[in-house]
Each structure stands twice: as C-alpha cells, then as structure tokens.
C-alpha cells in the first residue's frame, strides 16, 4: 500500500514539473526569440535560421542603433511617459478620494453611488457611442482652450470601477477606532485620509497604482482614435504603425541595411517591454496580492 502511494505521487510530480517548465519556457520564448532576432544579421533572420539563440557569426546592433537615432521613437517614448505619469496621478487622485467617501457608512445614498459605479461594469455603451462622446468632449475641451489631445486621453480614459472597489474594500478594512482617535485629536477629514487611511492600506494603493500605470503604459486603442497629431502618438501606436508598414511592404522597399526589416520590428518590441520587465520583479508580488483581495465581497 505504502509503495503504491509513492509511485502515484512520483508520477504526478514528474508530470507537473515537466509541464510547468515547458509552459514557463513557452511564456518566455517569444521574448527571447525577439531579442535574438533583433541582434542577428540580415541573412540569418531572412532565412529563418534563428530558433532560440542569436546567430553569433553575424551579430549586429544597428537595428537598435538606428531606432535610438530615430526621433519619432523618442517622441513616442516621452509621450507614453507623459500619459503614464499624469494618467496614473489623475486616476489615483479621483479613485482614492471617491473610494474614501464610499467607504464611509455615514455617506448618504451610499448604495446608489455604489450602484452607479458597478453598473458600468455590467453595461458599457460600446465603442462607437464612446467614440462619438469623446469627439463631443474634445470639442468642448478645445472651446475651453485645451487643444492638446493628450490631456483628453489623460482625463477621460483609463478609469476602472473595479480599481475603485478594490480601494474601497481596503479602506473599509481600516479599524474605525483609529479614525475616531485621530478625530478626537482634532484631525480634519483630509488629514484622516492622508495620515490614517492611506498609510494603513499602502499595499492595496500600490497595487491599484500599478494596475493604472500598466494600463496607461499599454493603452493603445483610444490613444490611436483620439490623438490626431503623429508627434503625440504614444509608443504602442508607434509600434503598431511600424508593424502595419512592415505588413504592407512599405518598410522593405529599397531596404539596404545589415539587418533584416524583421529585426527593426523586434528591436522596437524589445524596447517597448524593457521598462515593464525592469520593474516587473519588484511589482509582481503586489499583483499576486491584488488579485486575491479582488472584487469578491462577502
């Protein structure tokens, strides 16, 4: 009996390890392949000789070099930084203030306000009405003197009811005794929020800020729709446009460089994910936490 038990366990362990390692490698493979292709020579890439490792005989870094000397690339990079920074700040400001008010039991019409948020998770107007609405807002923005489409993207997009509910749940978990003590000591509403609630729900705030920041960094669709000026395109739009040029064959006409057109695309892909990969090890624990506090509410 004892022996049989060990065998079934051993078999399952071997299967688990093998499949997990294979899956983890699959998750990593496209990125490794992209790096290898970005630094291999033209011939190796064109003839599909790259499988995993770069072709060491024809290593080149001109694909990266040319991209770094491309002004449009740096432009789009700084636009993305702008959208990520201001977008996250704006989203966090509105979300923290709103979630704090919603977490208070003494708030009148609390149920209605909650429903007002949650309903947007059930029913969305769809992309065409949203688009028409954004066009209407952008003309209002222009009328009051904000002609820069970037600010429209910052203010109007990227708000998520789910994140506010995450924050609200965290604020509700703060013991009310501490708040009462602060009020007895003469703290104002704002001080209660900044000195008691925010420090006591630091990890949820970090999680939500990261969720906002990642979605801003990765945002493509609405930035593509609403930003007219090519100089204001964020990185994702720039990358997509390059891929489209590549598909149309515009890219490859009169190509004479030491690297293949593919390498240029791969180099761009690598550069657009590097910032996320750099901060990823530090932030991944917050994400694992964030998913568990989730929206599930007893």
């Amino acid at each position: 009996m004892k022996r049989k038990l060990e065998i079934s366990e051993l078999i399952f362990k071997i299967i688990s390890y093998t499949l997990l390692i294979i899956f983890a490698l699959c998750c990593l493979y496209p990125f490794l392949y992209a790096i290898s292709s970005a630094i291999s020579g033209e011939h190796a890439v064109e003839y599909g000789e790259i499988v995993l490792l770069p072709d060491f005989k024809s290593l080149q870094f001109e694909a990266f070099g040319d991209m770094f000397s491309n002004n449009d690339f740096w432009n789009s990079y700084s636009n993305t930084l702008f959208l990520t920074l201001y977008g996250t700040l704006w989203s966090m400001l509105t979300a923290i203030l709103g979630a704090y008010a919603l977490s208070k039991k003494r708030l009148l019409f609390r149920k209605s306000f909650n429903f007002f948020l949650v309903f947007t998770m059930w029913f969305s107007a769809g992309i065409v009405p949203q688009y028409l609405n954004y066009i209407a807002t952008s003309s209002v923005f222009e009328a009051i003197g904000i002609t820069d489409d970037k600010w429209l993207v910052v203010i109007a997009m990227g708000m998520a009811a789910m994140n506010i509910i995450l924050l609200r749940n965290a604020f509700e978990g703060v013991p009310s005794e501490i708040e009462e003590a602060a009020i007895v000591d003469g703290a104002t509403e704002m001080q209660v929020l900044t000195k008691v609630y925010i420090p006591m729900s630091k990890s949820t705030i970090a999680t939500v800020a990261l969720l906002f920041a990642i979605s801003r960094w990765n945002g493509y669709f609405w930035a593509r729709q609403m930003i007219d000026n090519p100089n204001e395109y964020p990185l994702q739009v720039f990358l997509r446009n390059q891929v489209e040029n590549f598909q149309d064959g515009e890219f490859t006409q009169g190509w004479n460089r030491v690297y293949a057109p593919d390498s240029a695309i791969y180099a761009l892909v690598v550069c657009s994910i590097i910032p996320i990969l750099i901060i990823y090890p530090f932030i991944q624990k917050y994400f694992a936490k964030g998913v568990n506090v989730g929206g599930v509410k007893e």
Partner: protein, 364 residues
Amino acid sequence: MMKAKAADFILYDQATGTYRIDPEQAVRDDVEKHHWLHVGRTVLKDWRLYLMLVPMLLVFLLWRYLPMYELLGCFKVGDPARVVPVNDQAFAGFSNFKLLLTGGNDMRMSYEFWQAMRNTFLLSFYGLCFGFPMPIILALFFNEVRSNAARSVLQVLTYIPKFMSTVVMTSLIIMLVKEGSTTGTGNELGGVISQLMVKLGMISRDTASTGLLREPAFFRTIYQVSGIWESAGYDSIVFFSAIIAISPTSYEAAQIDGANKWAQMRYVVLPSILSTVVIMLITRIGHLLMVGYEKVLLLYDVDNTLTTADVVSTFAYRNGGMGGGGESNPGLASAAEMMNNVVGMLLVIGANTIARKATNTSLY
C-alpha cells in the same frame, strides 16, 4: 429609501447590559423623516466628504454614462457623410434593428451582423472550454512544487505575458506566424511558429507561406492559444491560493486512509477549491459576450478572415465611421452594440444572481 430591520439599529452594550439606538441609524431616520431639507443639511455639514466624491462621479458621468445617451443613436439615422451629435439625427424607430436582424434591403449587413454575433459567442465559448480549465490545472501543478524558490520563479515567469500590451502581443503573433517570402530571397515558410508547425506536420507548406493569419480556419486557434499563453499563469493565482489554504492535516488523514494521489485530488483538493471554481466559472459565463475588441482588431484581416474573426465590436467599428474609410452609419453600429451589450448585461446579472444563491457570495 430602504426600510431597515430593527436589529440593524439597536445595539446591545455588553458592559452595561443595556440596549441603545445606533447613532448612525438615528441620522438616517432623521433624514428620512424630514427628507430633502435634512438631506441638504446633512450634506452641508459633511460637505468635505461629498466634495471628495465629485471628481469620480464626474468622470463616470461624462465618459461612462453620456455614451449611453449617445447609444440612443441606435433609434436614429445619422448622416453617413459626417459625424453628427445624436440630438441632430432623424428618428428612425427600430429600422436599424430590423435591418440588422432580418436584412430588409441590405442582406449583406444582416449576414455580417449575425456572423459577428456568432463569432463573439464562439470566441468566448471556446475560451470557456479551453481557457478556463488551464489555470486550474496550472495551480494543481504549482502545488506539487515543494521548493518555494523554484515555484516562485516558475510562477513569475508565467505571469509575464499578462503585463505585455495587446499591441506587443499581437505584434509578436504577427511576426511569429507571418507569411513566407515570395521573392525567392528568404524563408518561404514564414515565421518561426509556422516553420515548427510544418515540421510537425500540422499545416501544409502552402498554408504556412500564405501566413496563418490570412486563413480563416486558424483564427480561433490562434486567438485561444495566445489567450492561454497570455493569462493562464496569472489566472492560476486565485486557484493556487485556494489550494494552499487547504490544511495539511486533510492530506494526512486521506493518506492514512490509503488514498493515493488521484484519490487525494478527487476527495481533498477538488472539494476544497470547488467554491472558487464555481465563482470563477459563473463570472466567466457572465462575461460571455464581452470579447476584447482590441486583440481582434489588431489580429484580424479585413479582406480574408472576417468569417471567423469579426466580432460585434469590430463590426460596429468598421460600420460606425471609426478607423476612417468606407461609409459610416453610427446608428446601425450603435444598434449592433446595443443588442450585444444588453444581452451581455442580462448574462452578468443572471450569473451574479446565481452566484449569490449558490455560494452566498456576491461578485460586486
């Protein structure tokens, strides 16, 4: 206003053994009795709290609820030549819906709409069949890795794709299954995944050199496989934390009773994570009609793969005057989205009701 039960506002004070009325309930009762005047006074007294709500409510009102007003364009006929605010359009009753559902004088439109409806449903249904079990299986496997360091490394690696943007992901897919070179210089099988599949005998050389994304038959597979690649690792977190919450004594008891690995799975692990699985499954069913349009839009090929790839959102995108080119009919596009989203909302509400009844847990 909701009537409160007596137990809600009578508090029992243990120290003195007396009952007293909850002060907050007193405020609520007061407000209810004198209504708007008192509501106004309570709000004024506490104006800081209500001021904090304003930015959030404004954002939601302007950019989540106003579009719903714009959605009423589905009952109107717009000017195909330019974008017109919904107020200035001519009222058209249900003609847009009729056109989409039954065809009328434009059978092609109706055909495309039903095709998009079917694709929307099928893409999420296959996602449910293939994408849903994967994170659970992964979580069971992660549970087998005893070394914490090794497990963390494996987990962190499998989460990475989740944080890549849709553009990066679709660009990689496009490159990995791109068409072969036709000029004779270069590889005629195309991207590295196509090459691998030809070697394994899964696709013919011709298919590979046309490019997998140009073949309607492959779109759903590409969509599902990349979906699993993207989110299976991240989605396994919630199941994994349900599994590690199982007390080790349960396993020991099962082992003493002579349960082998499969019996332990069947009688210890599965019952313990069942409620999590049920909740996630119900949520998934509720979101059956909410397909991410961004990924479809970036992957599909308007000339070749509409038959399997077009979903309602992308149908609306093409016919609603977005993305430039072609004639635009926002009313028709809105009508398509209206139908999709109303059915979608009913699914979510139904799923939430079932979840509340079945597990006593509300999702929102």
